[in-house]
């Protein structure tokens, strides 16, 4: 998972919906937890974060 910091406006849909994958920084902007790899069981919620980010700031790089 990658968050484009230039697009993120801190809506918090990602860290609220998938706290294992995203976390807020000190002003509420999203950042990925760890190296951004998502275990299979969290994939659905990670994809929802992509679909719900109002700024289209999150992308998935498949590996």
């Amino acid at each position: 998972m990658v968050i484009d910091a230039d697009r993120c406006e801190g809506h918090g849909r990602c860290w609220a919906g998938a706290p294992e994958v995203f976390e807020p920084d000190d002003i509420g902007n999203g950042q990925v937890v760890g190296d951004g790899r998502v275990p299979v069981e969290l994939e659905h919620r990670a994809r929802l974060a992509v679909a719900n980010c109002p700024e289209h700031a999150i992308t998935i790089e498949e590996s």
Binding site: H11, G12, R13, D26, I27, G28, L48, E55
Partner: protein, 401 residues
């Protein structure tokens, strides 16, 4: 507000303070989206109303051609010389000034700061419920929803709780008095700033651990804020934080009062409340913002003139079938929901984490106390018109009929 002629044609003469709009704007927007997606009116000195998600988003992102110098549409346009800061930074500011003015506020409303306010908010919601003890019918807007944001923001700012009635009056005046004559509007603003100035002077004499003292100590562009800037910022927080959240909590309770299946589901599955809140925010988004056109231009075929308004209807965008599946239905567990209730782009609601916490706690406490409640009389529900729409009278039955 009824200070104007009733609207007969929504495509060429719309008015967001019309009683028909206040009572139920959705059919108006649905029709416009199909037939005239960017409507116009000659009222307020000229204004446009985009109703599609795509158009609302494009204008929200276009800070080059649309200014935030005033986000509340009325006959009054603040002088252009106030740009780029505007009357109430950061909501009235354009880039590049906007960024730092906003940055200064974000830590106050960060998720971590908001979390710390949750226990007090919950205790306060419970107090409001306790005061209803023994009653069968209560007004969920007047006796519950309205008090929560007032109490939370007054606490944060360090203003006395006993003044709650006073600031509700100011807020009402600014947001709902848009069709009053200019002199009357100006009087309201002067009264608000006079009130705030007194408290700011107190805080200068005697600093405390609250938001007013924090702001007095903050710097912008390398300089301490002067007391007037602090007053403007506080004025913004009162105006942006109260009616909006009151409306969102009220609309949520209204929906659950008339929709037993959704109510029962949330009572049985409290963990669903955060998802439900996003859907309620989508379907009943309370806030519409305004912009001013900077220069004459052709915007997607619309001949927009400098100083005309644009009403950014986030509520209508949230009902656009091109963006949402079954937009007119409240699907209480809707998972894919990229709604715009808190705006889009650089002005994203700075208080959104706080507002979500207040909504969640308010609903949790309410549902816990009243697992079954319903509308006393749908016709007795009264909605505010204008740019912040929510139930202002909401009688619900919480006890035996």
């Amino acid at each position: 507000m009824g200070h104007h002629e009733p609207v007969t044609d929504w495509t060429t003469d719309f008015d967001h303070t019309d009683d028909v709009w206040a009572a139920d704007p959705y059919p108006i927007w649905d029709e416009l989206r199909r037939t005239c997606p960017v409507a116009h009116t000659g009222r307020y000195g000229g204004a446009w109303l985009p109703t599609r998600f795509e158009d609302v988003a494009a204008i929200a992102y276009d800070t080059e051609r649309f200014t935030s110098r005033s986000v509340v549409m009325s006959e009054f346009r603040p002088p252009a010389m106030l740009a780029p800061a505007g009357i109430a930074p950061p909501i009235s500011s354009d880039p590049p000034y906007h960024k730092d003015a906003r940055r200064m506020l974000l830590p106050i409303f960060s998720p971590q700061a908001v979390e710390a306010l949750e226990p007090a908010t919950r205790a306060y919601c419970r107090e409001l419920i306790a005061a209803m003890d023994g009653r069968d019918v209560v007004d969920a807007a007047e006796e519950y929803a309205q008090h929560i944001p007032v109490r939370v923001i007054a606490n944060m700012l360090g203003l006395p709780q006993t003044d709650a009635e006073t600031f509700r009056g100011f807020v009402n005046h600014v947001l709902e008095g848009v069709s009053l004559p200019l002199e009357q509007r100006a009087e309201g603003m002067i009264a608000l700033f006079g009130y705030l100035q007194g408290h700011i002077d107190d805080h200068i004499a005697e600093p405390r651990d609250d938001l007013i003292s924090f702001l007095l100590d903050s710097e912008l562009e390398g300089q301490k804020l002067d007391p007037f800037q602090v007053a403007r910022t506080i004025g913004l927080l009162l105006i942006a934080g109260i009616d909006t959240t009151w409306s969102a909590i009220g609309a949520s309770i209204w929906h659950l009062a008339k929709t037993p299946a959704d109510r029962e589901r949330l009572v049985a599955e409290p963990a669903l409340v955060p998802v439900a809140i996003e859907e309620l925010l989508r379907a009943y988004a309370p806030v519409t913002m305004a912009r001013l056109v900077k220069q004459d231009m052709d915007w997607n075929g619309c001949p927009m003139k400098a100083e005309e308004w644009v009403l950014l209807s986030f509520p209508s965008a949230n009902r656009d079938p091109d963006e949402f599946d079954r937009p007119d239905e409240v699907i209480i567990d809707r998972e894919v929901n990229r709604h715009a209730a808190f705006g889009l782009g650089i002005h994203r609601c700075a208080g959104s984490h706080l507002a979500r916490m207040e909504m969640r706690v308010a609903l949790e406490v309410w549902l816990d106390a009243f697992p079954a409640f319903h509308l006393v009389d749908p016709a007795a529900v009264h909605w505010s018109g204008g740019q912040v729409r929510g139930p202002r009278q909401l009688p619900v039955r919480i006890g035996p009929a």
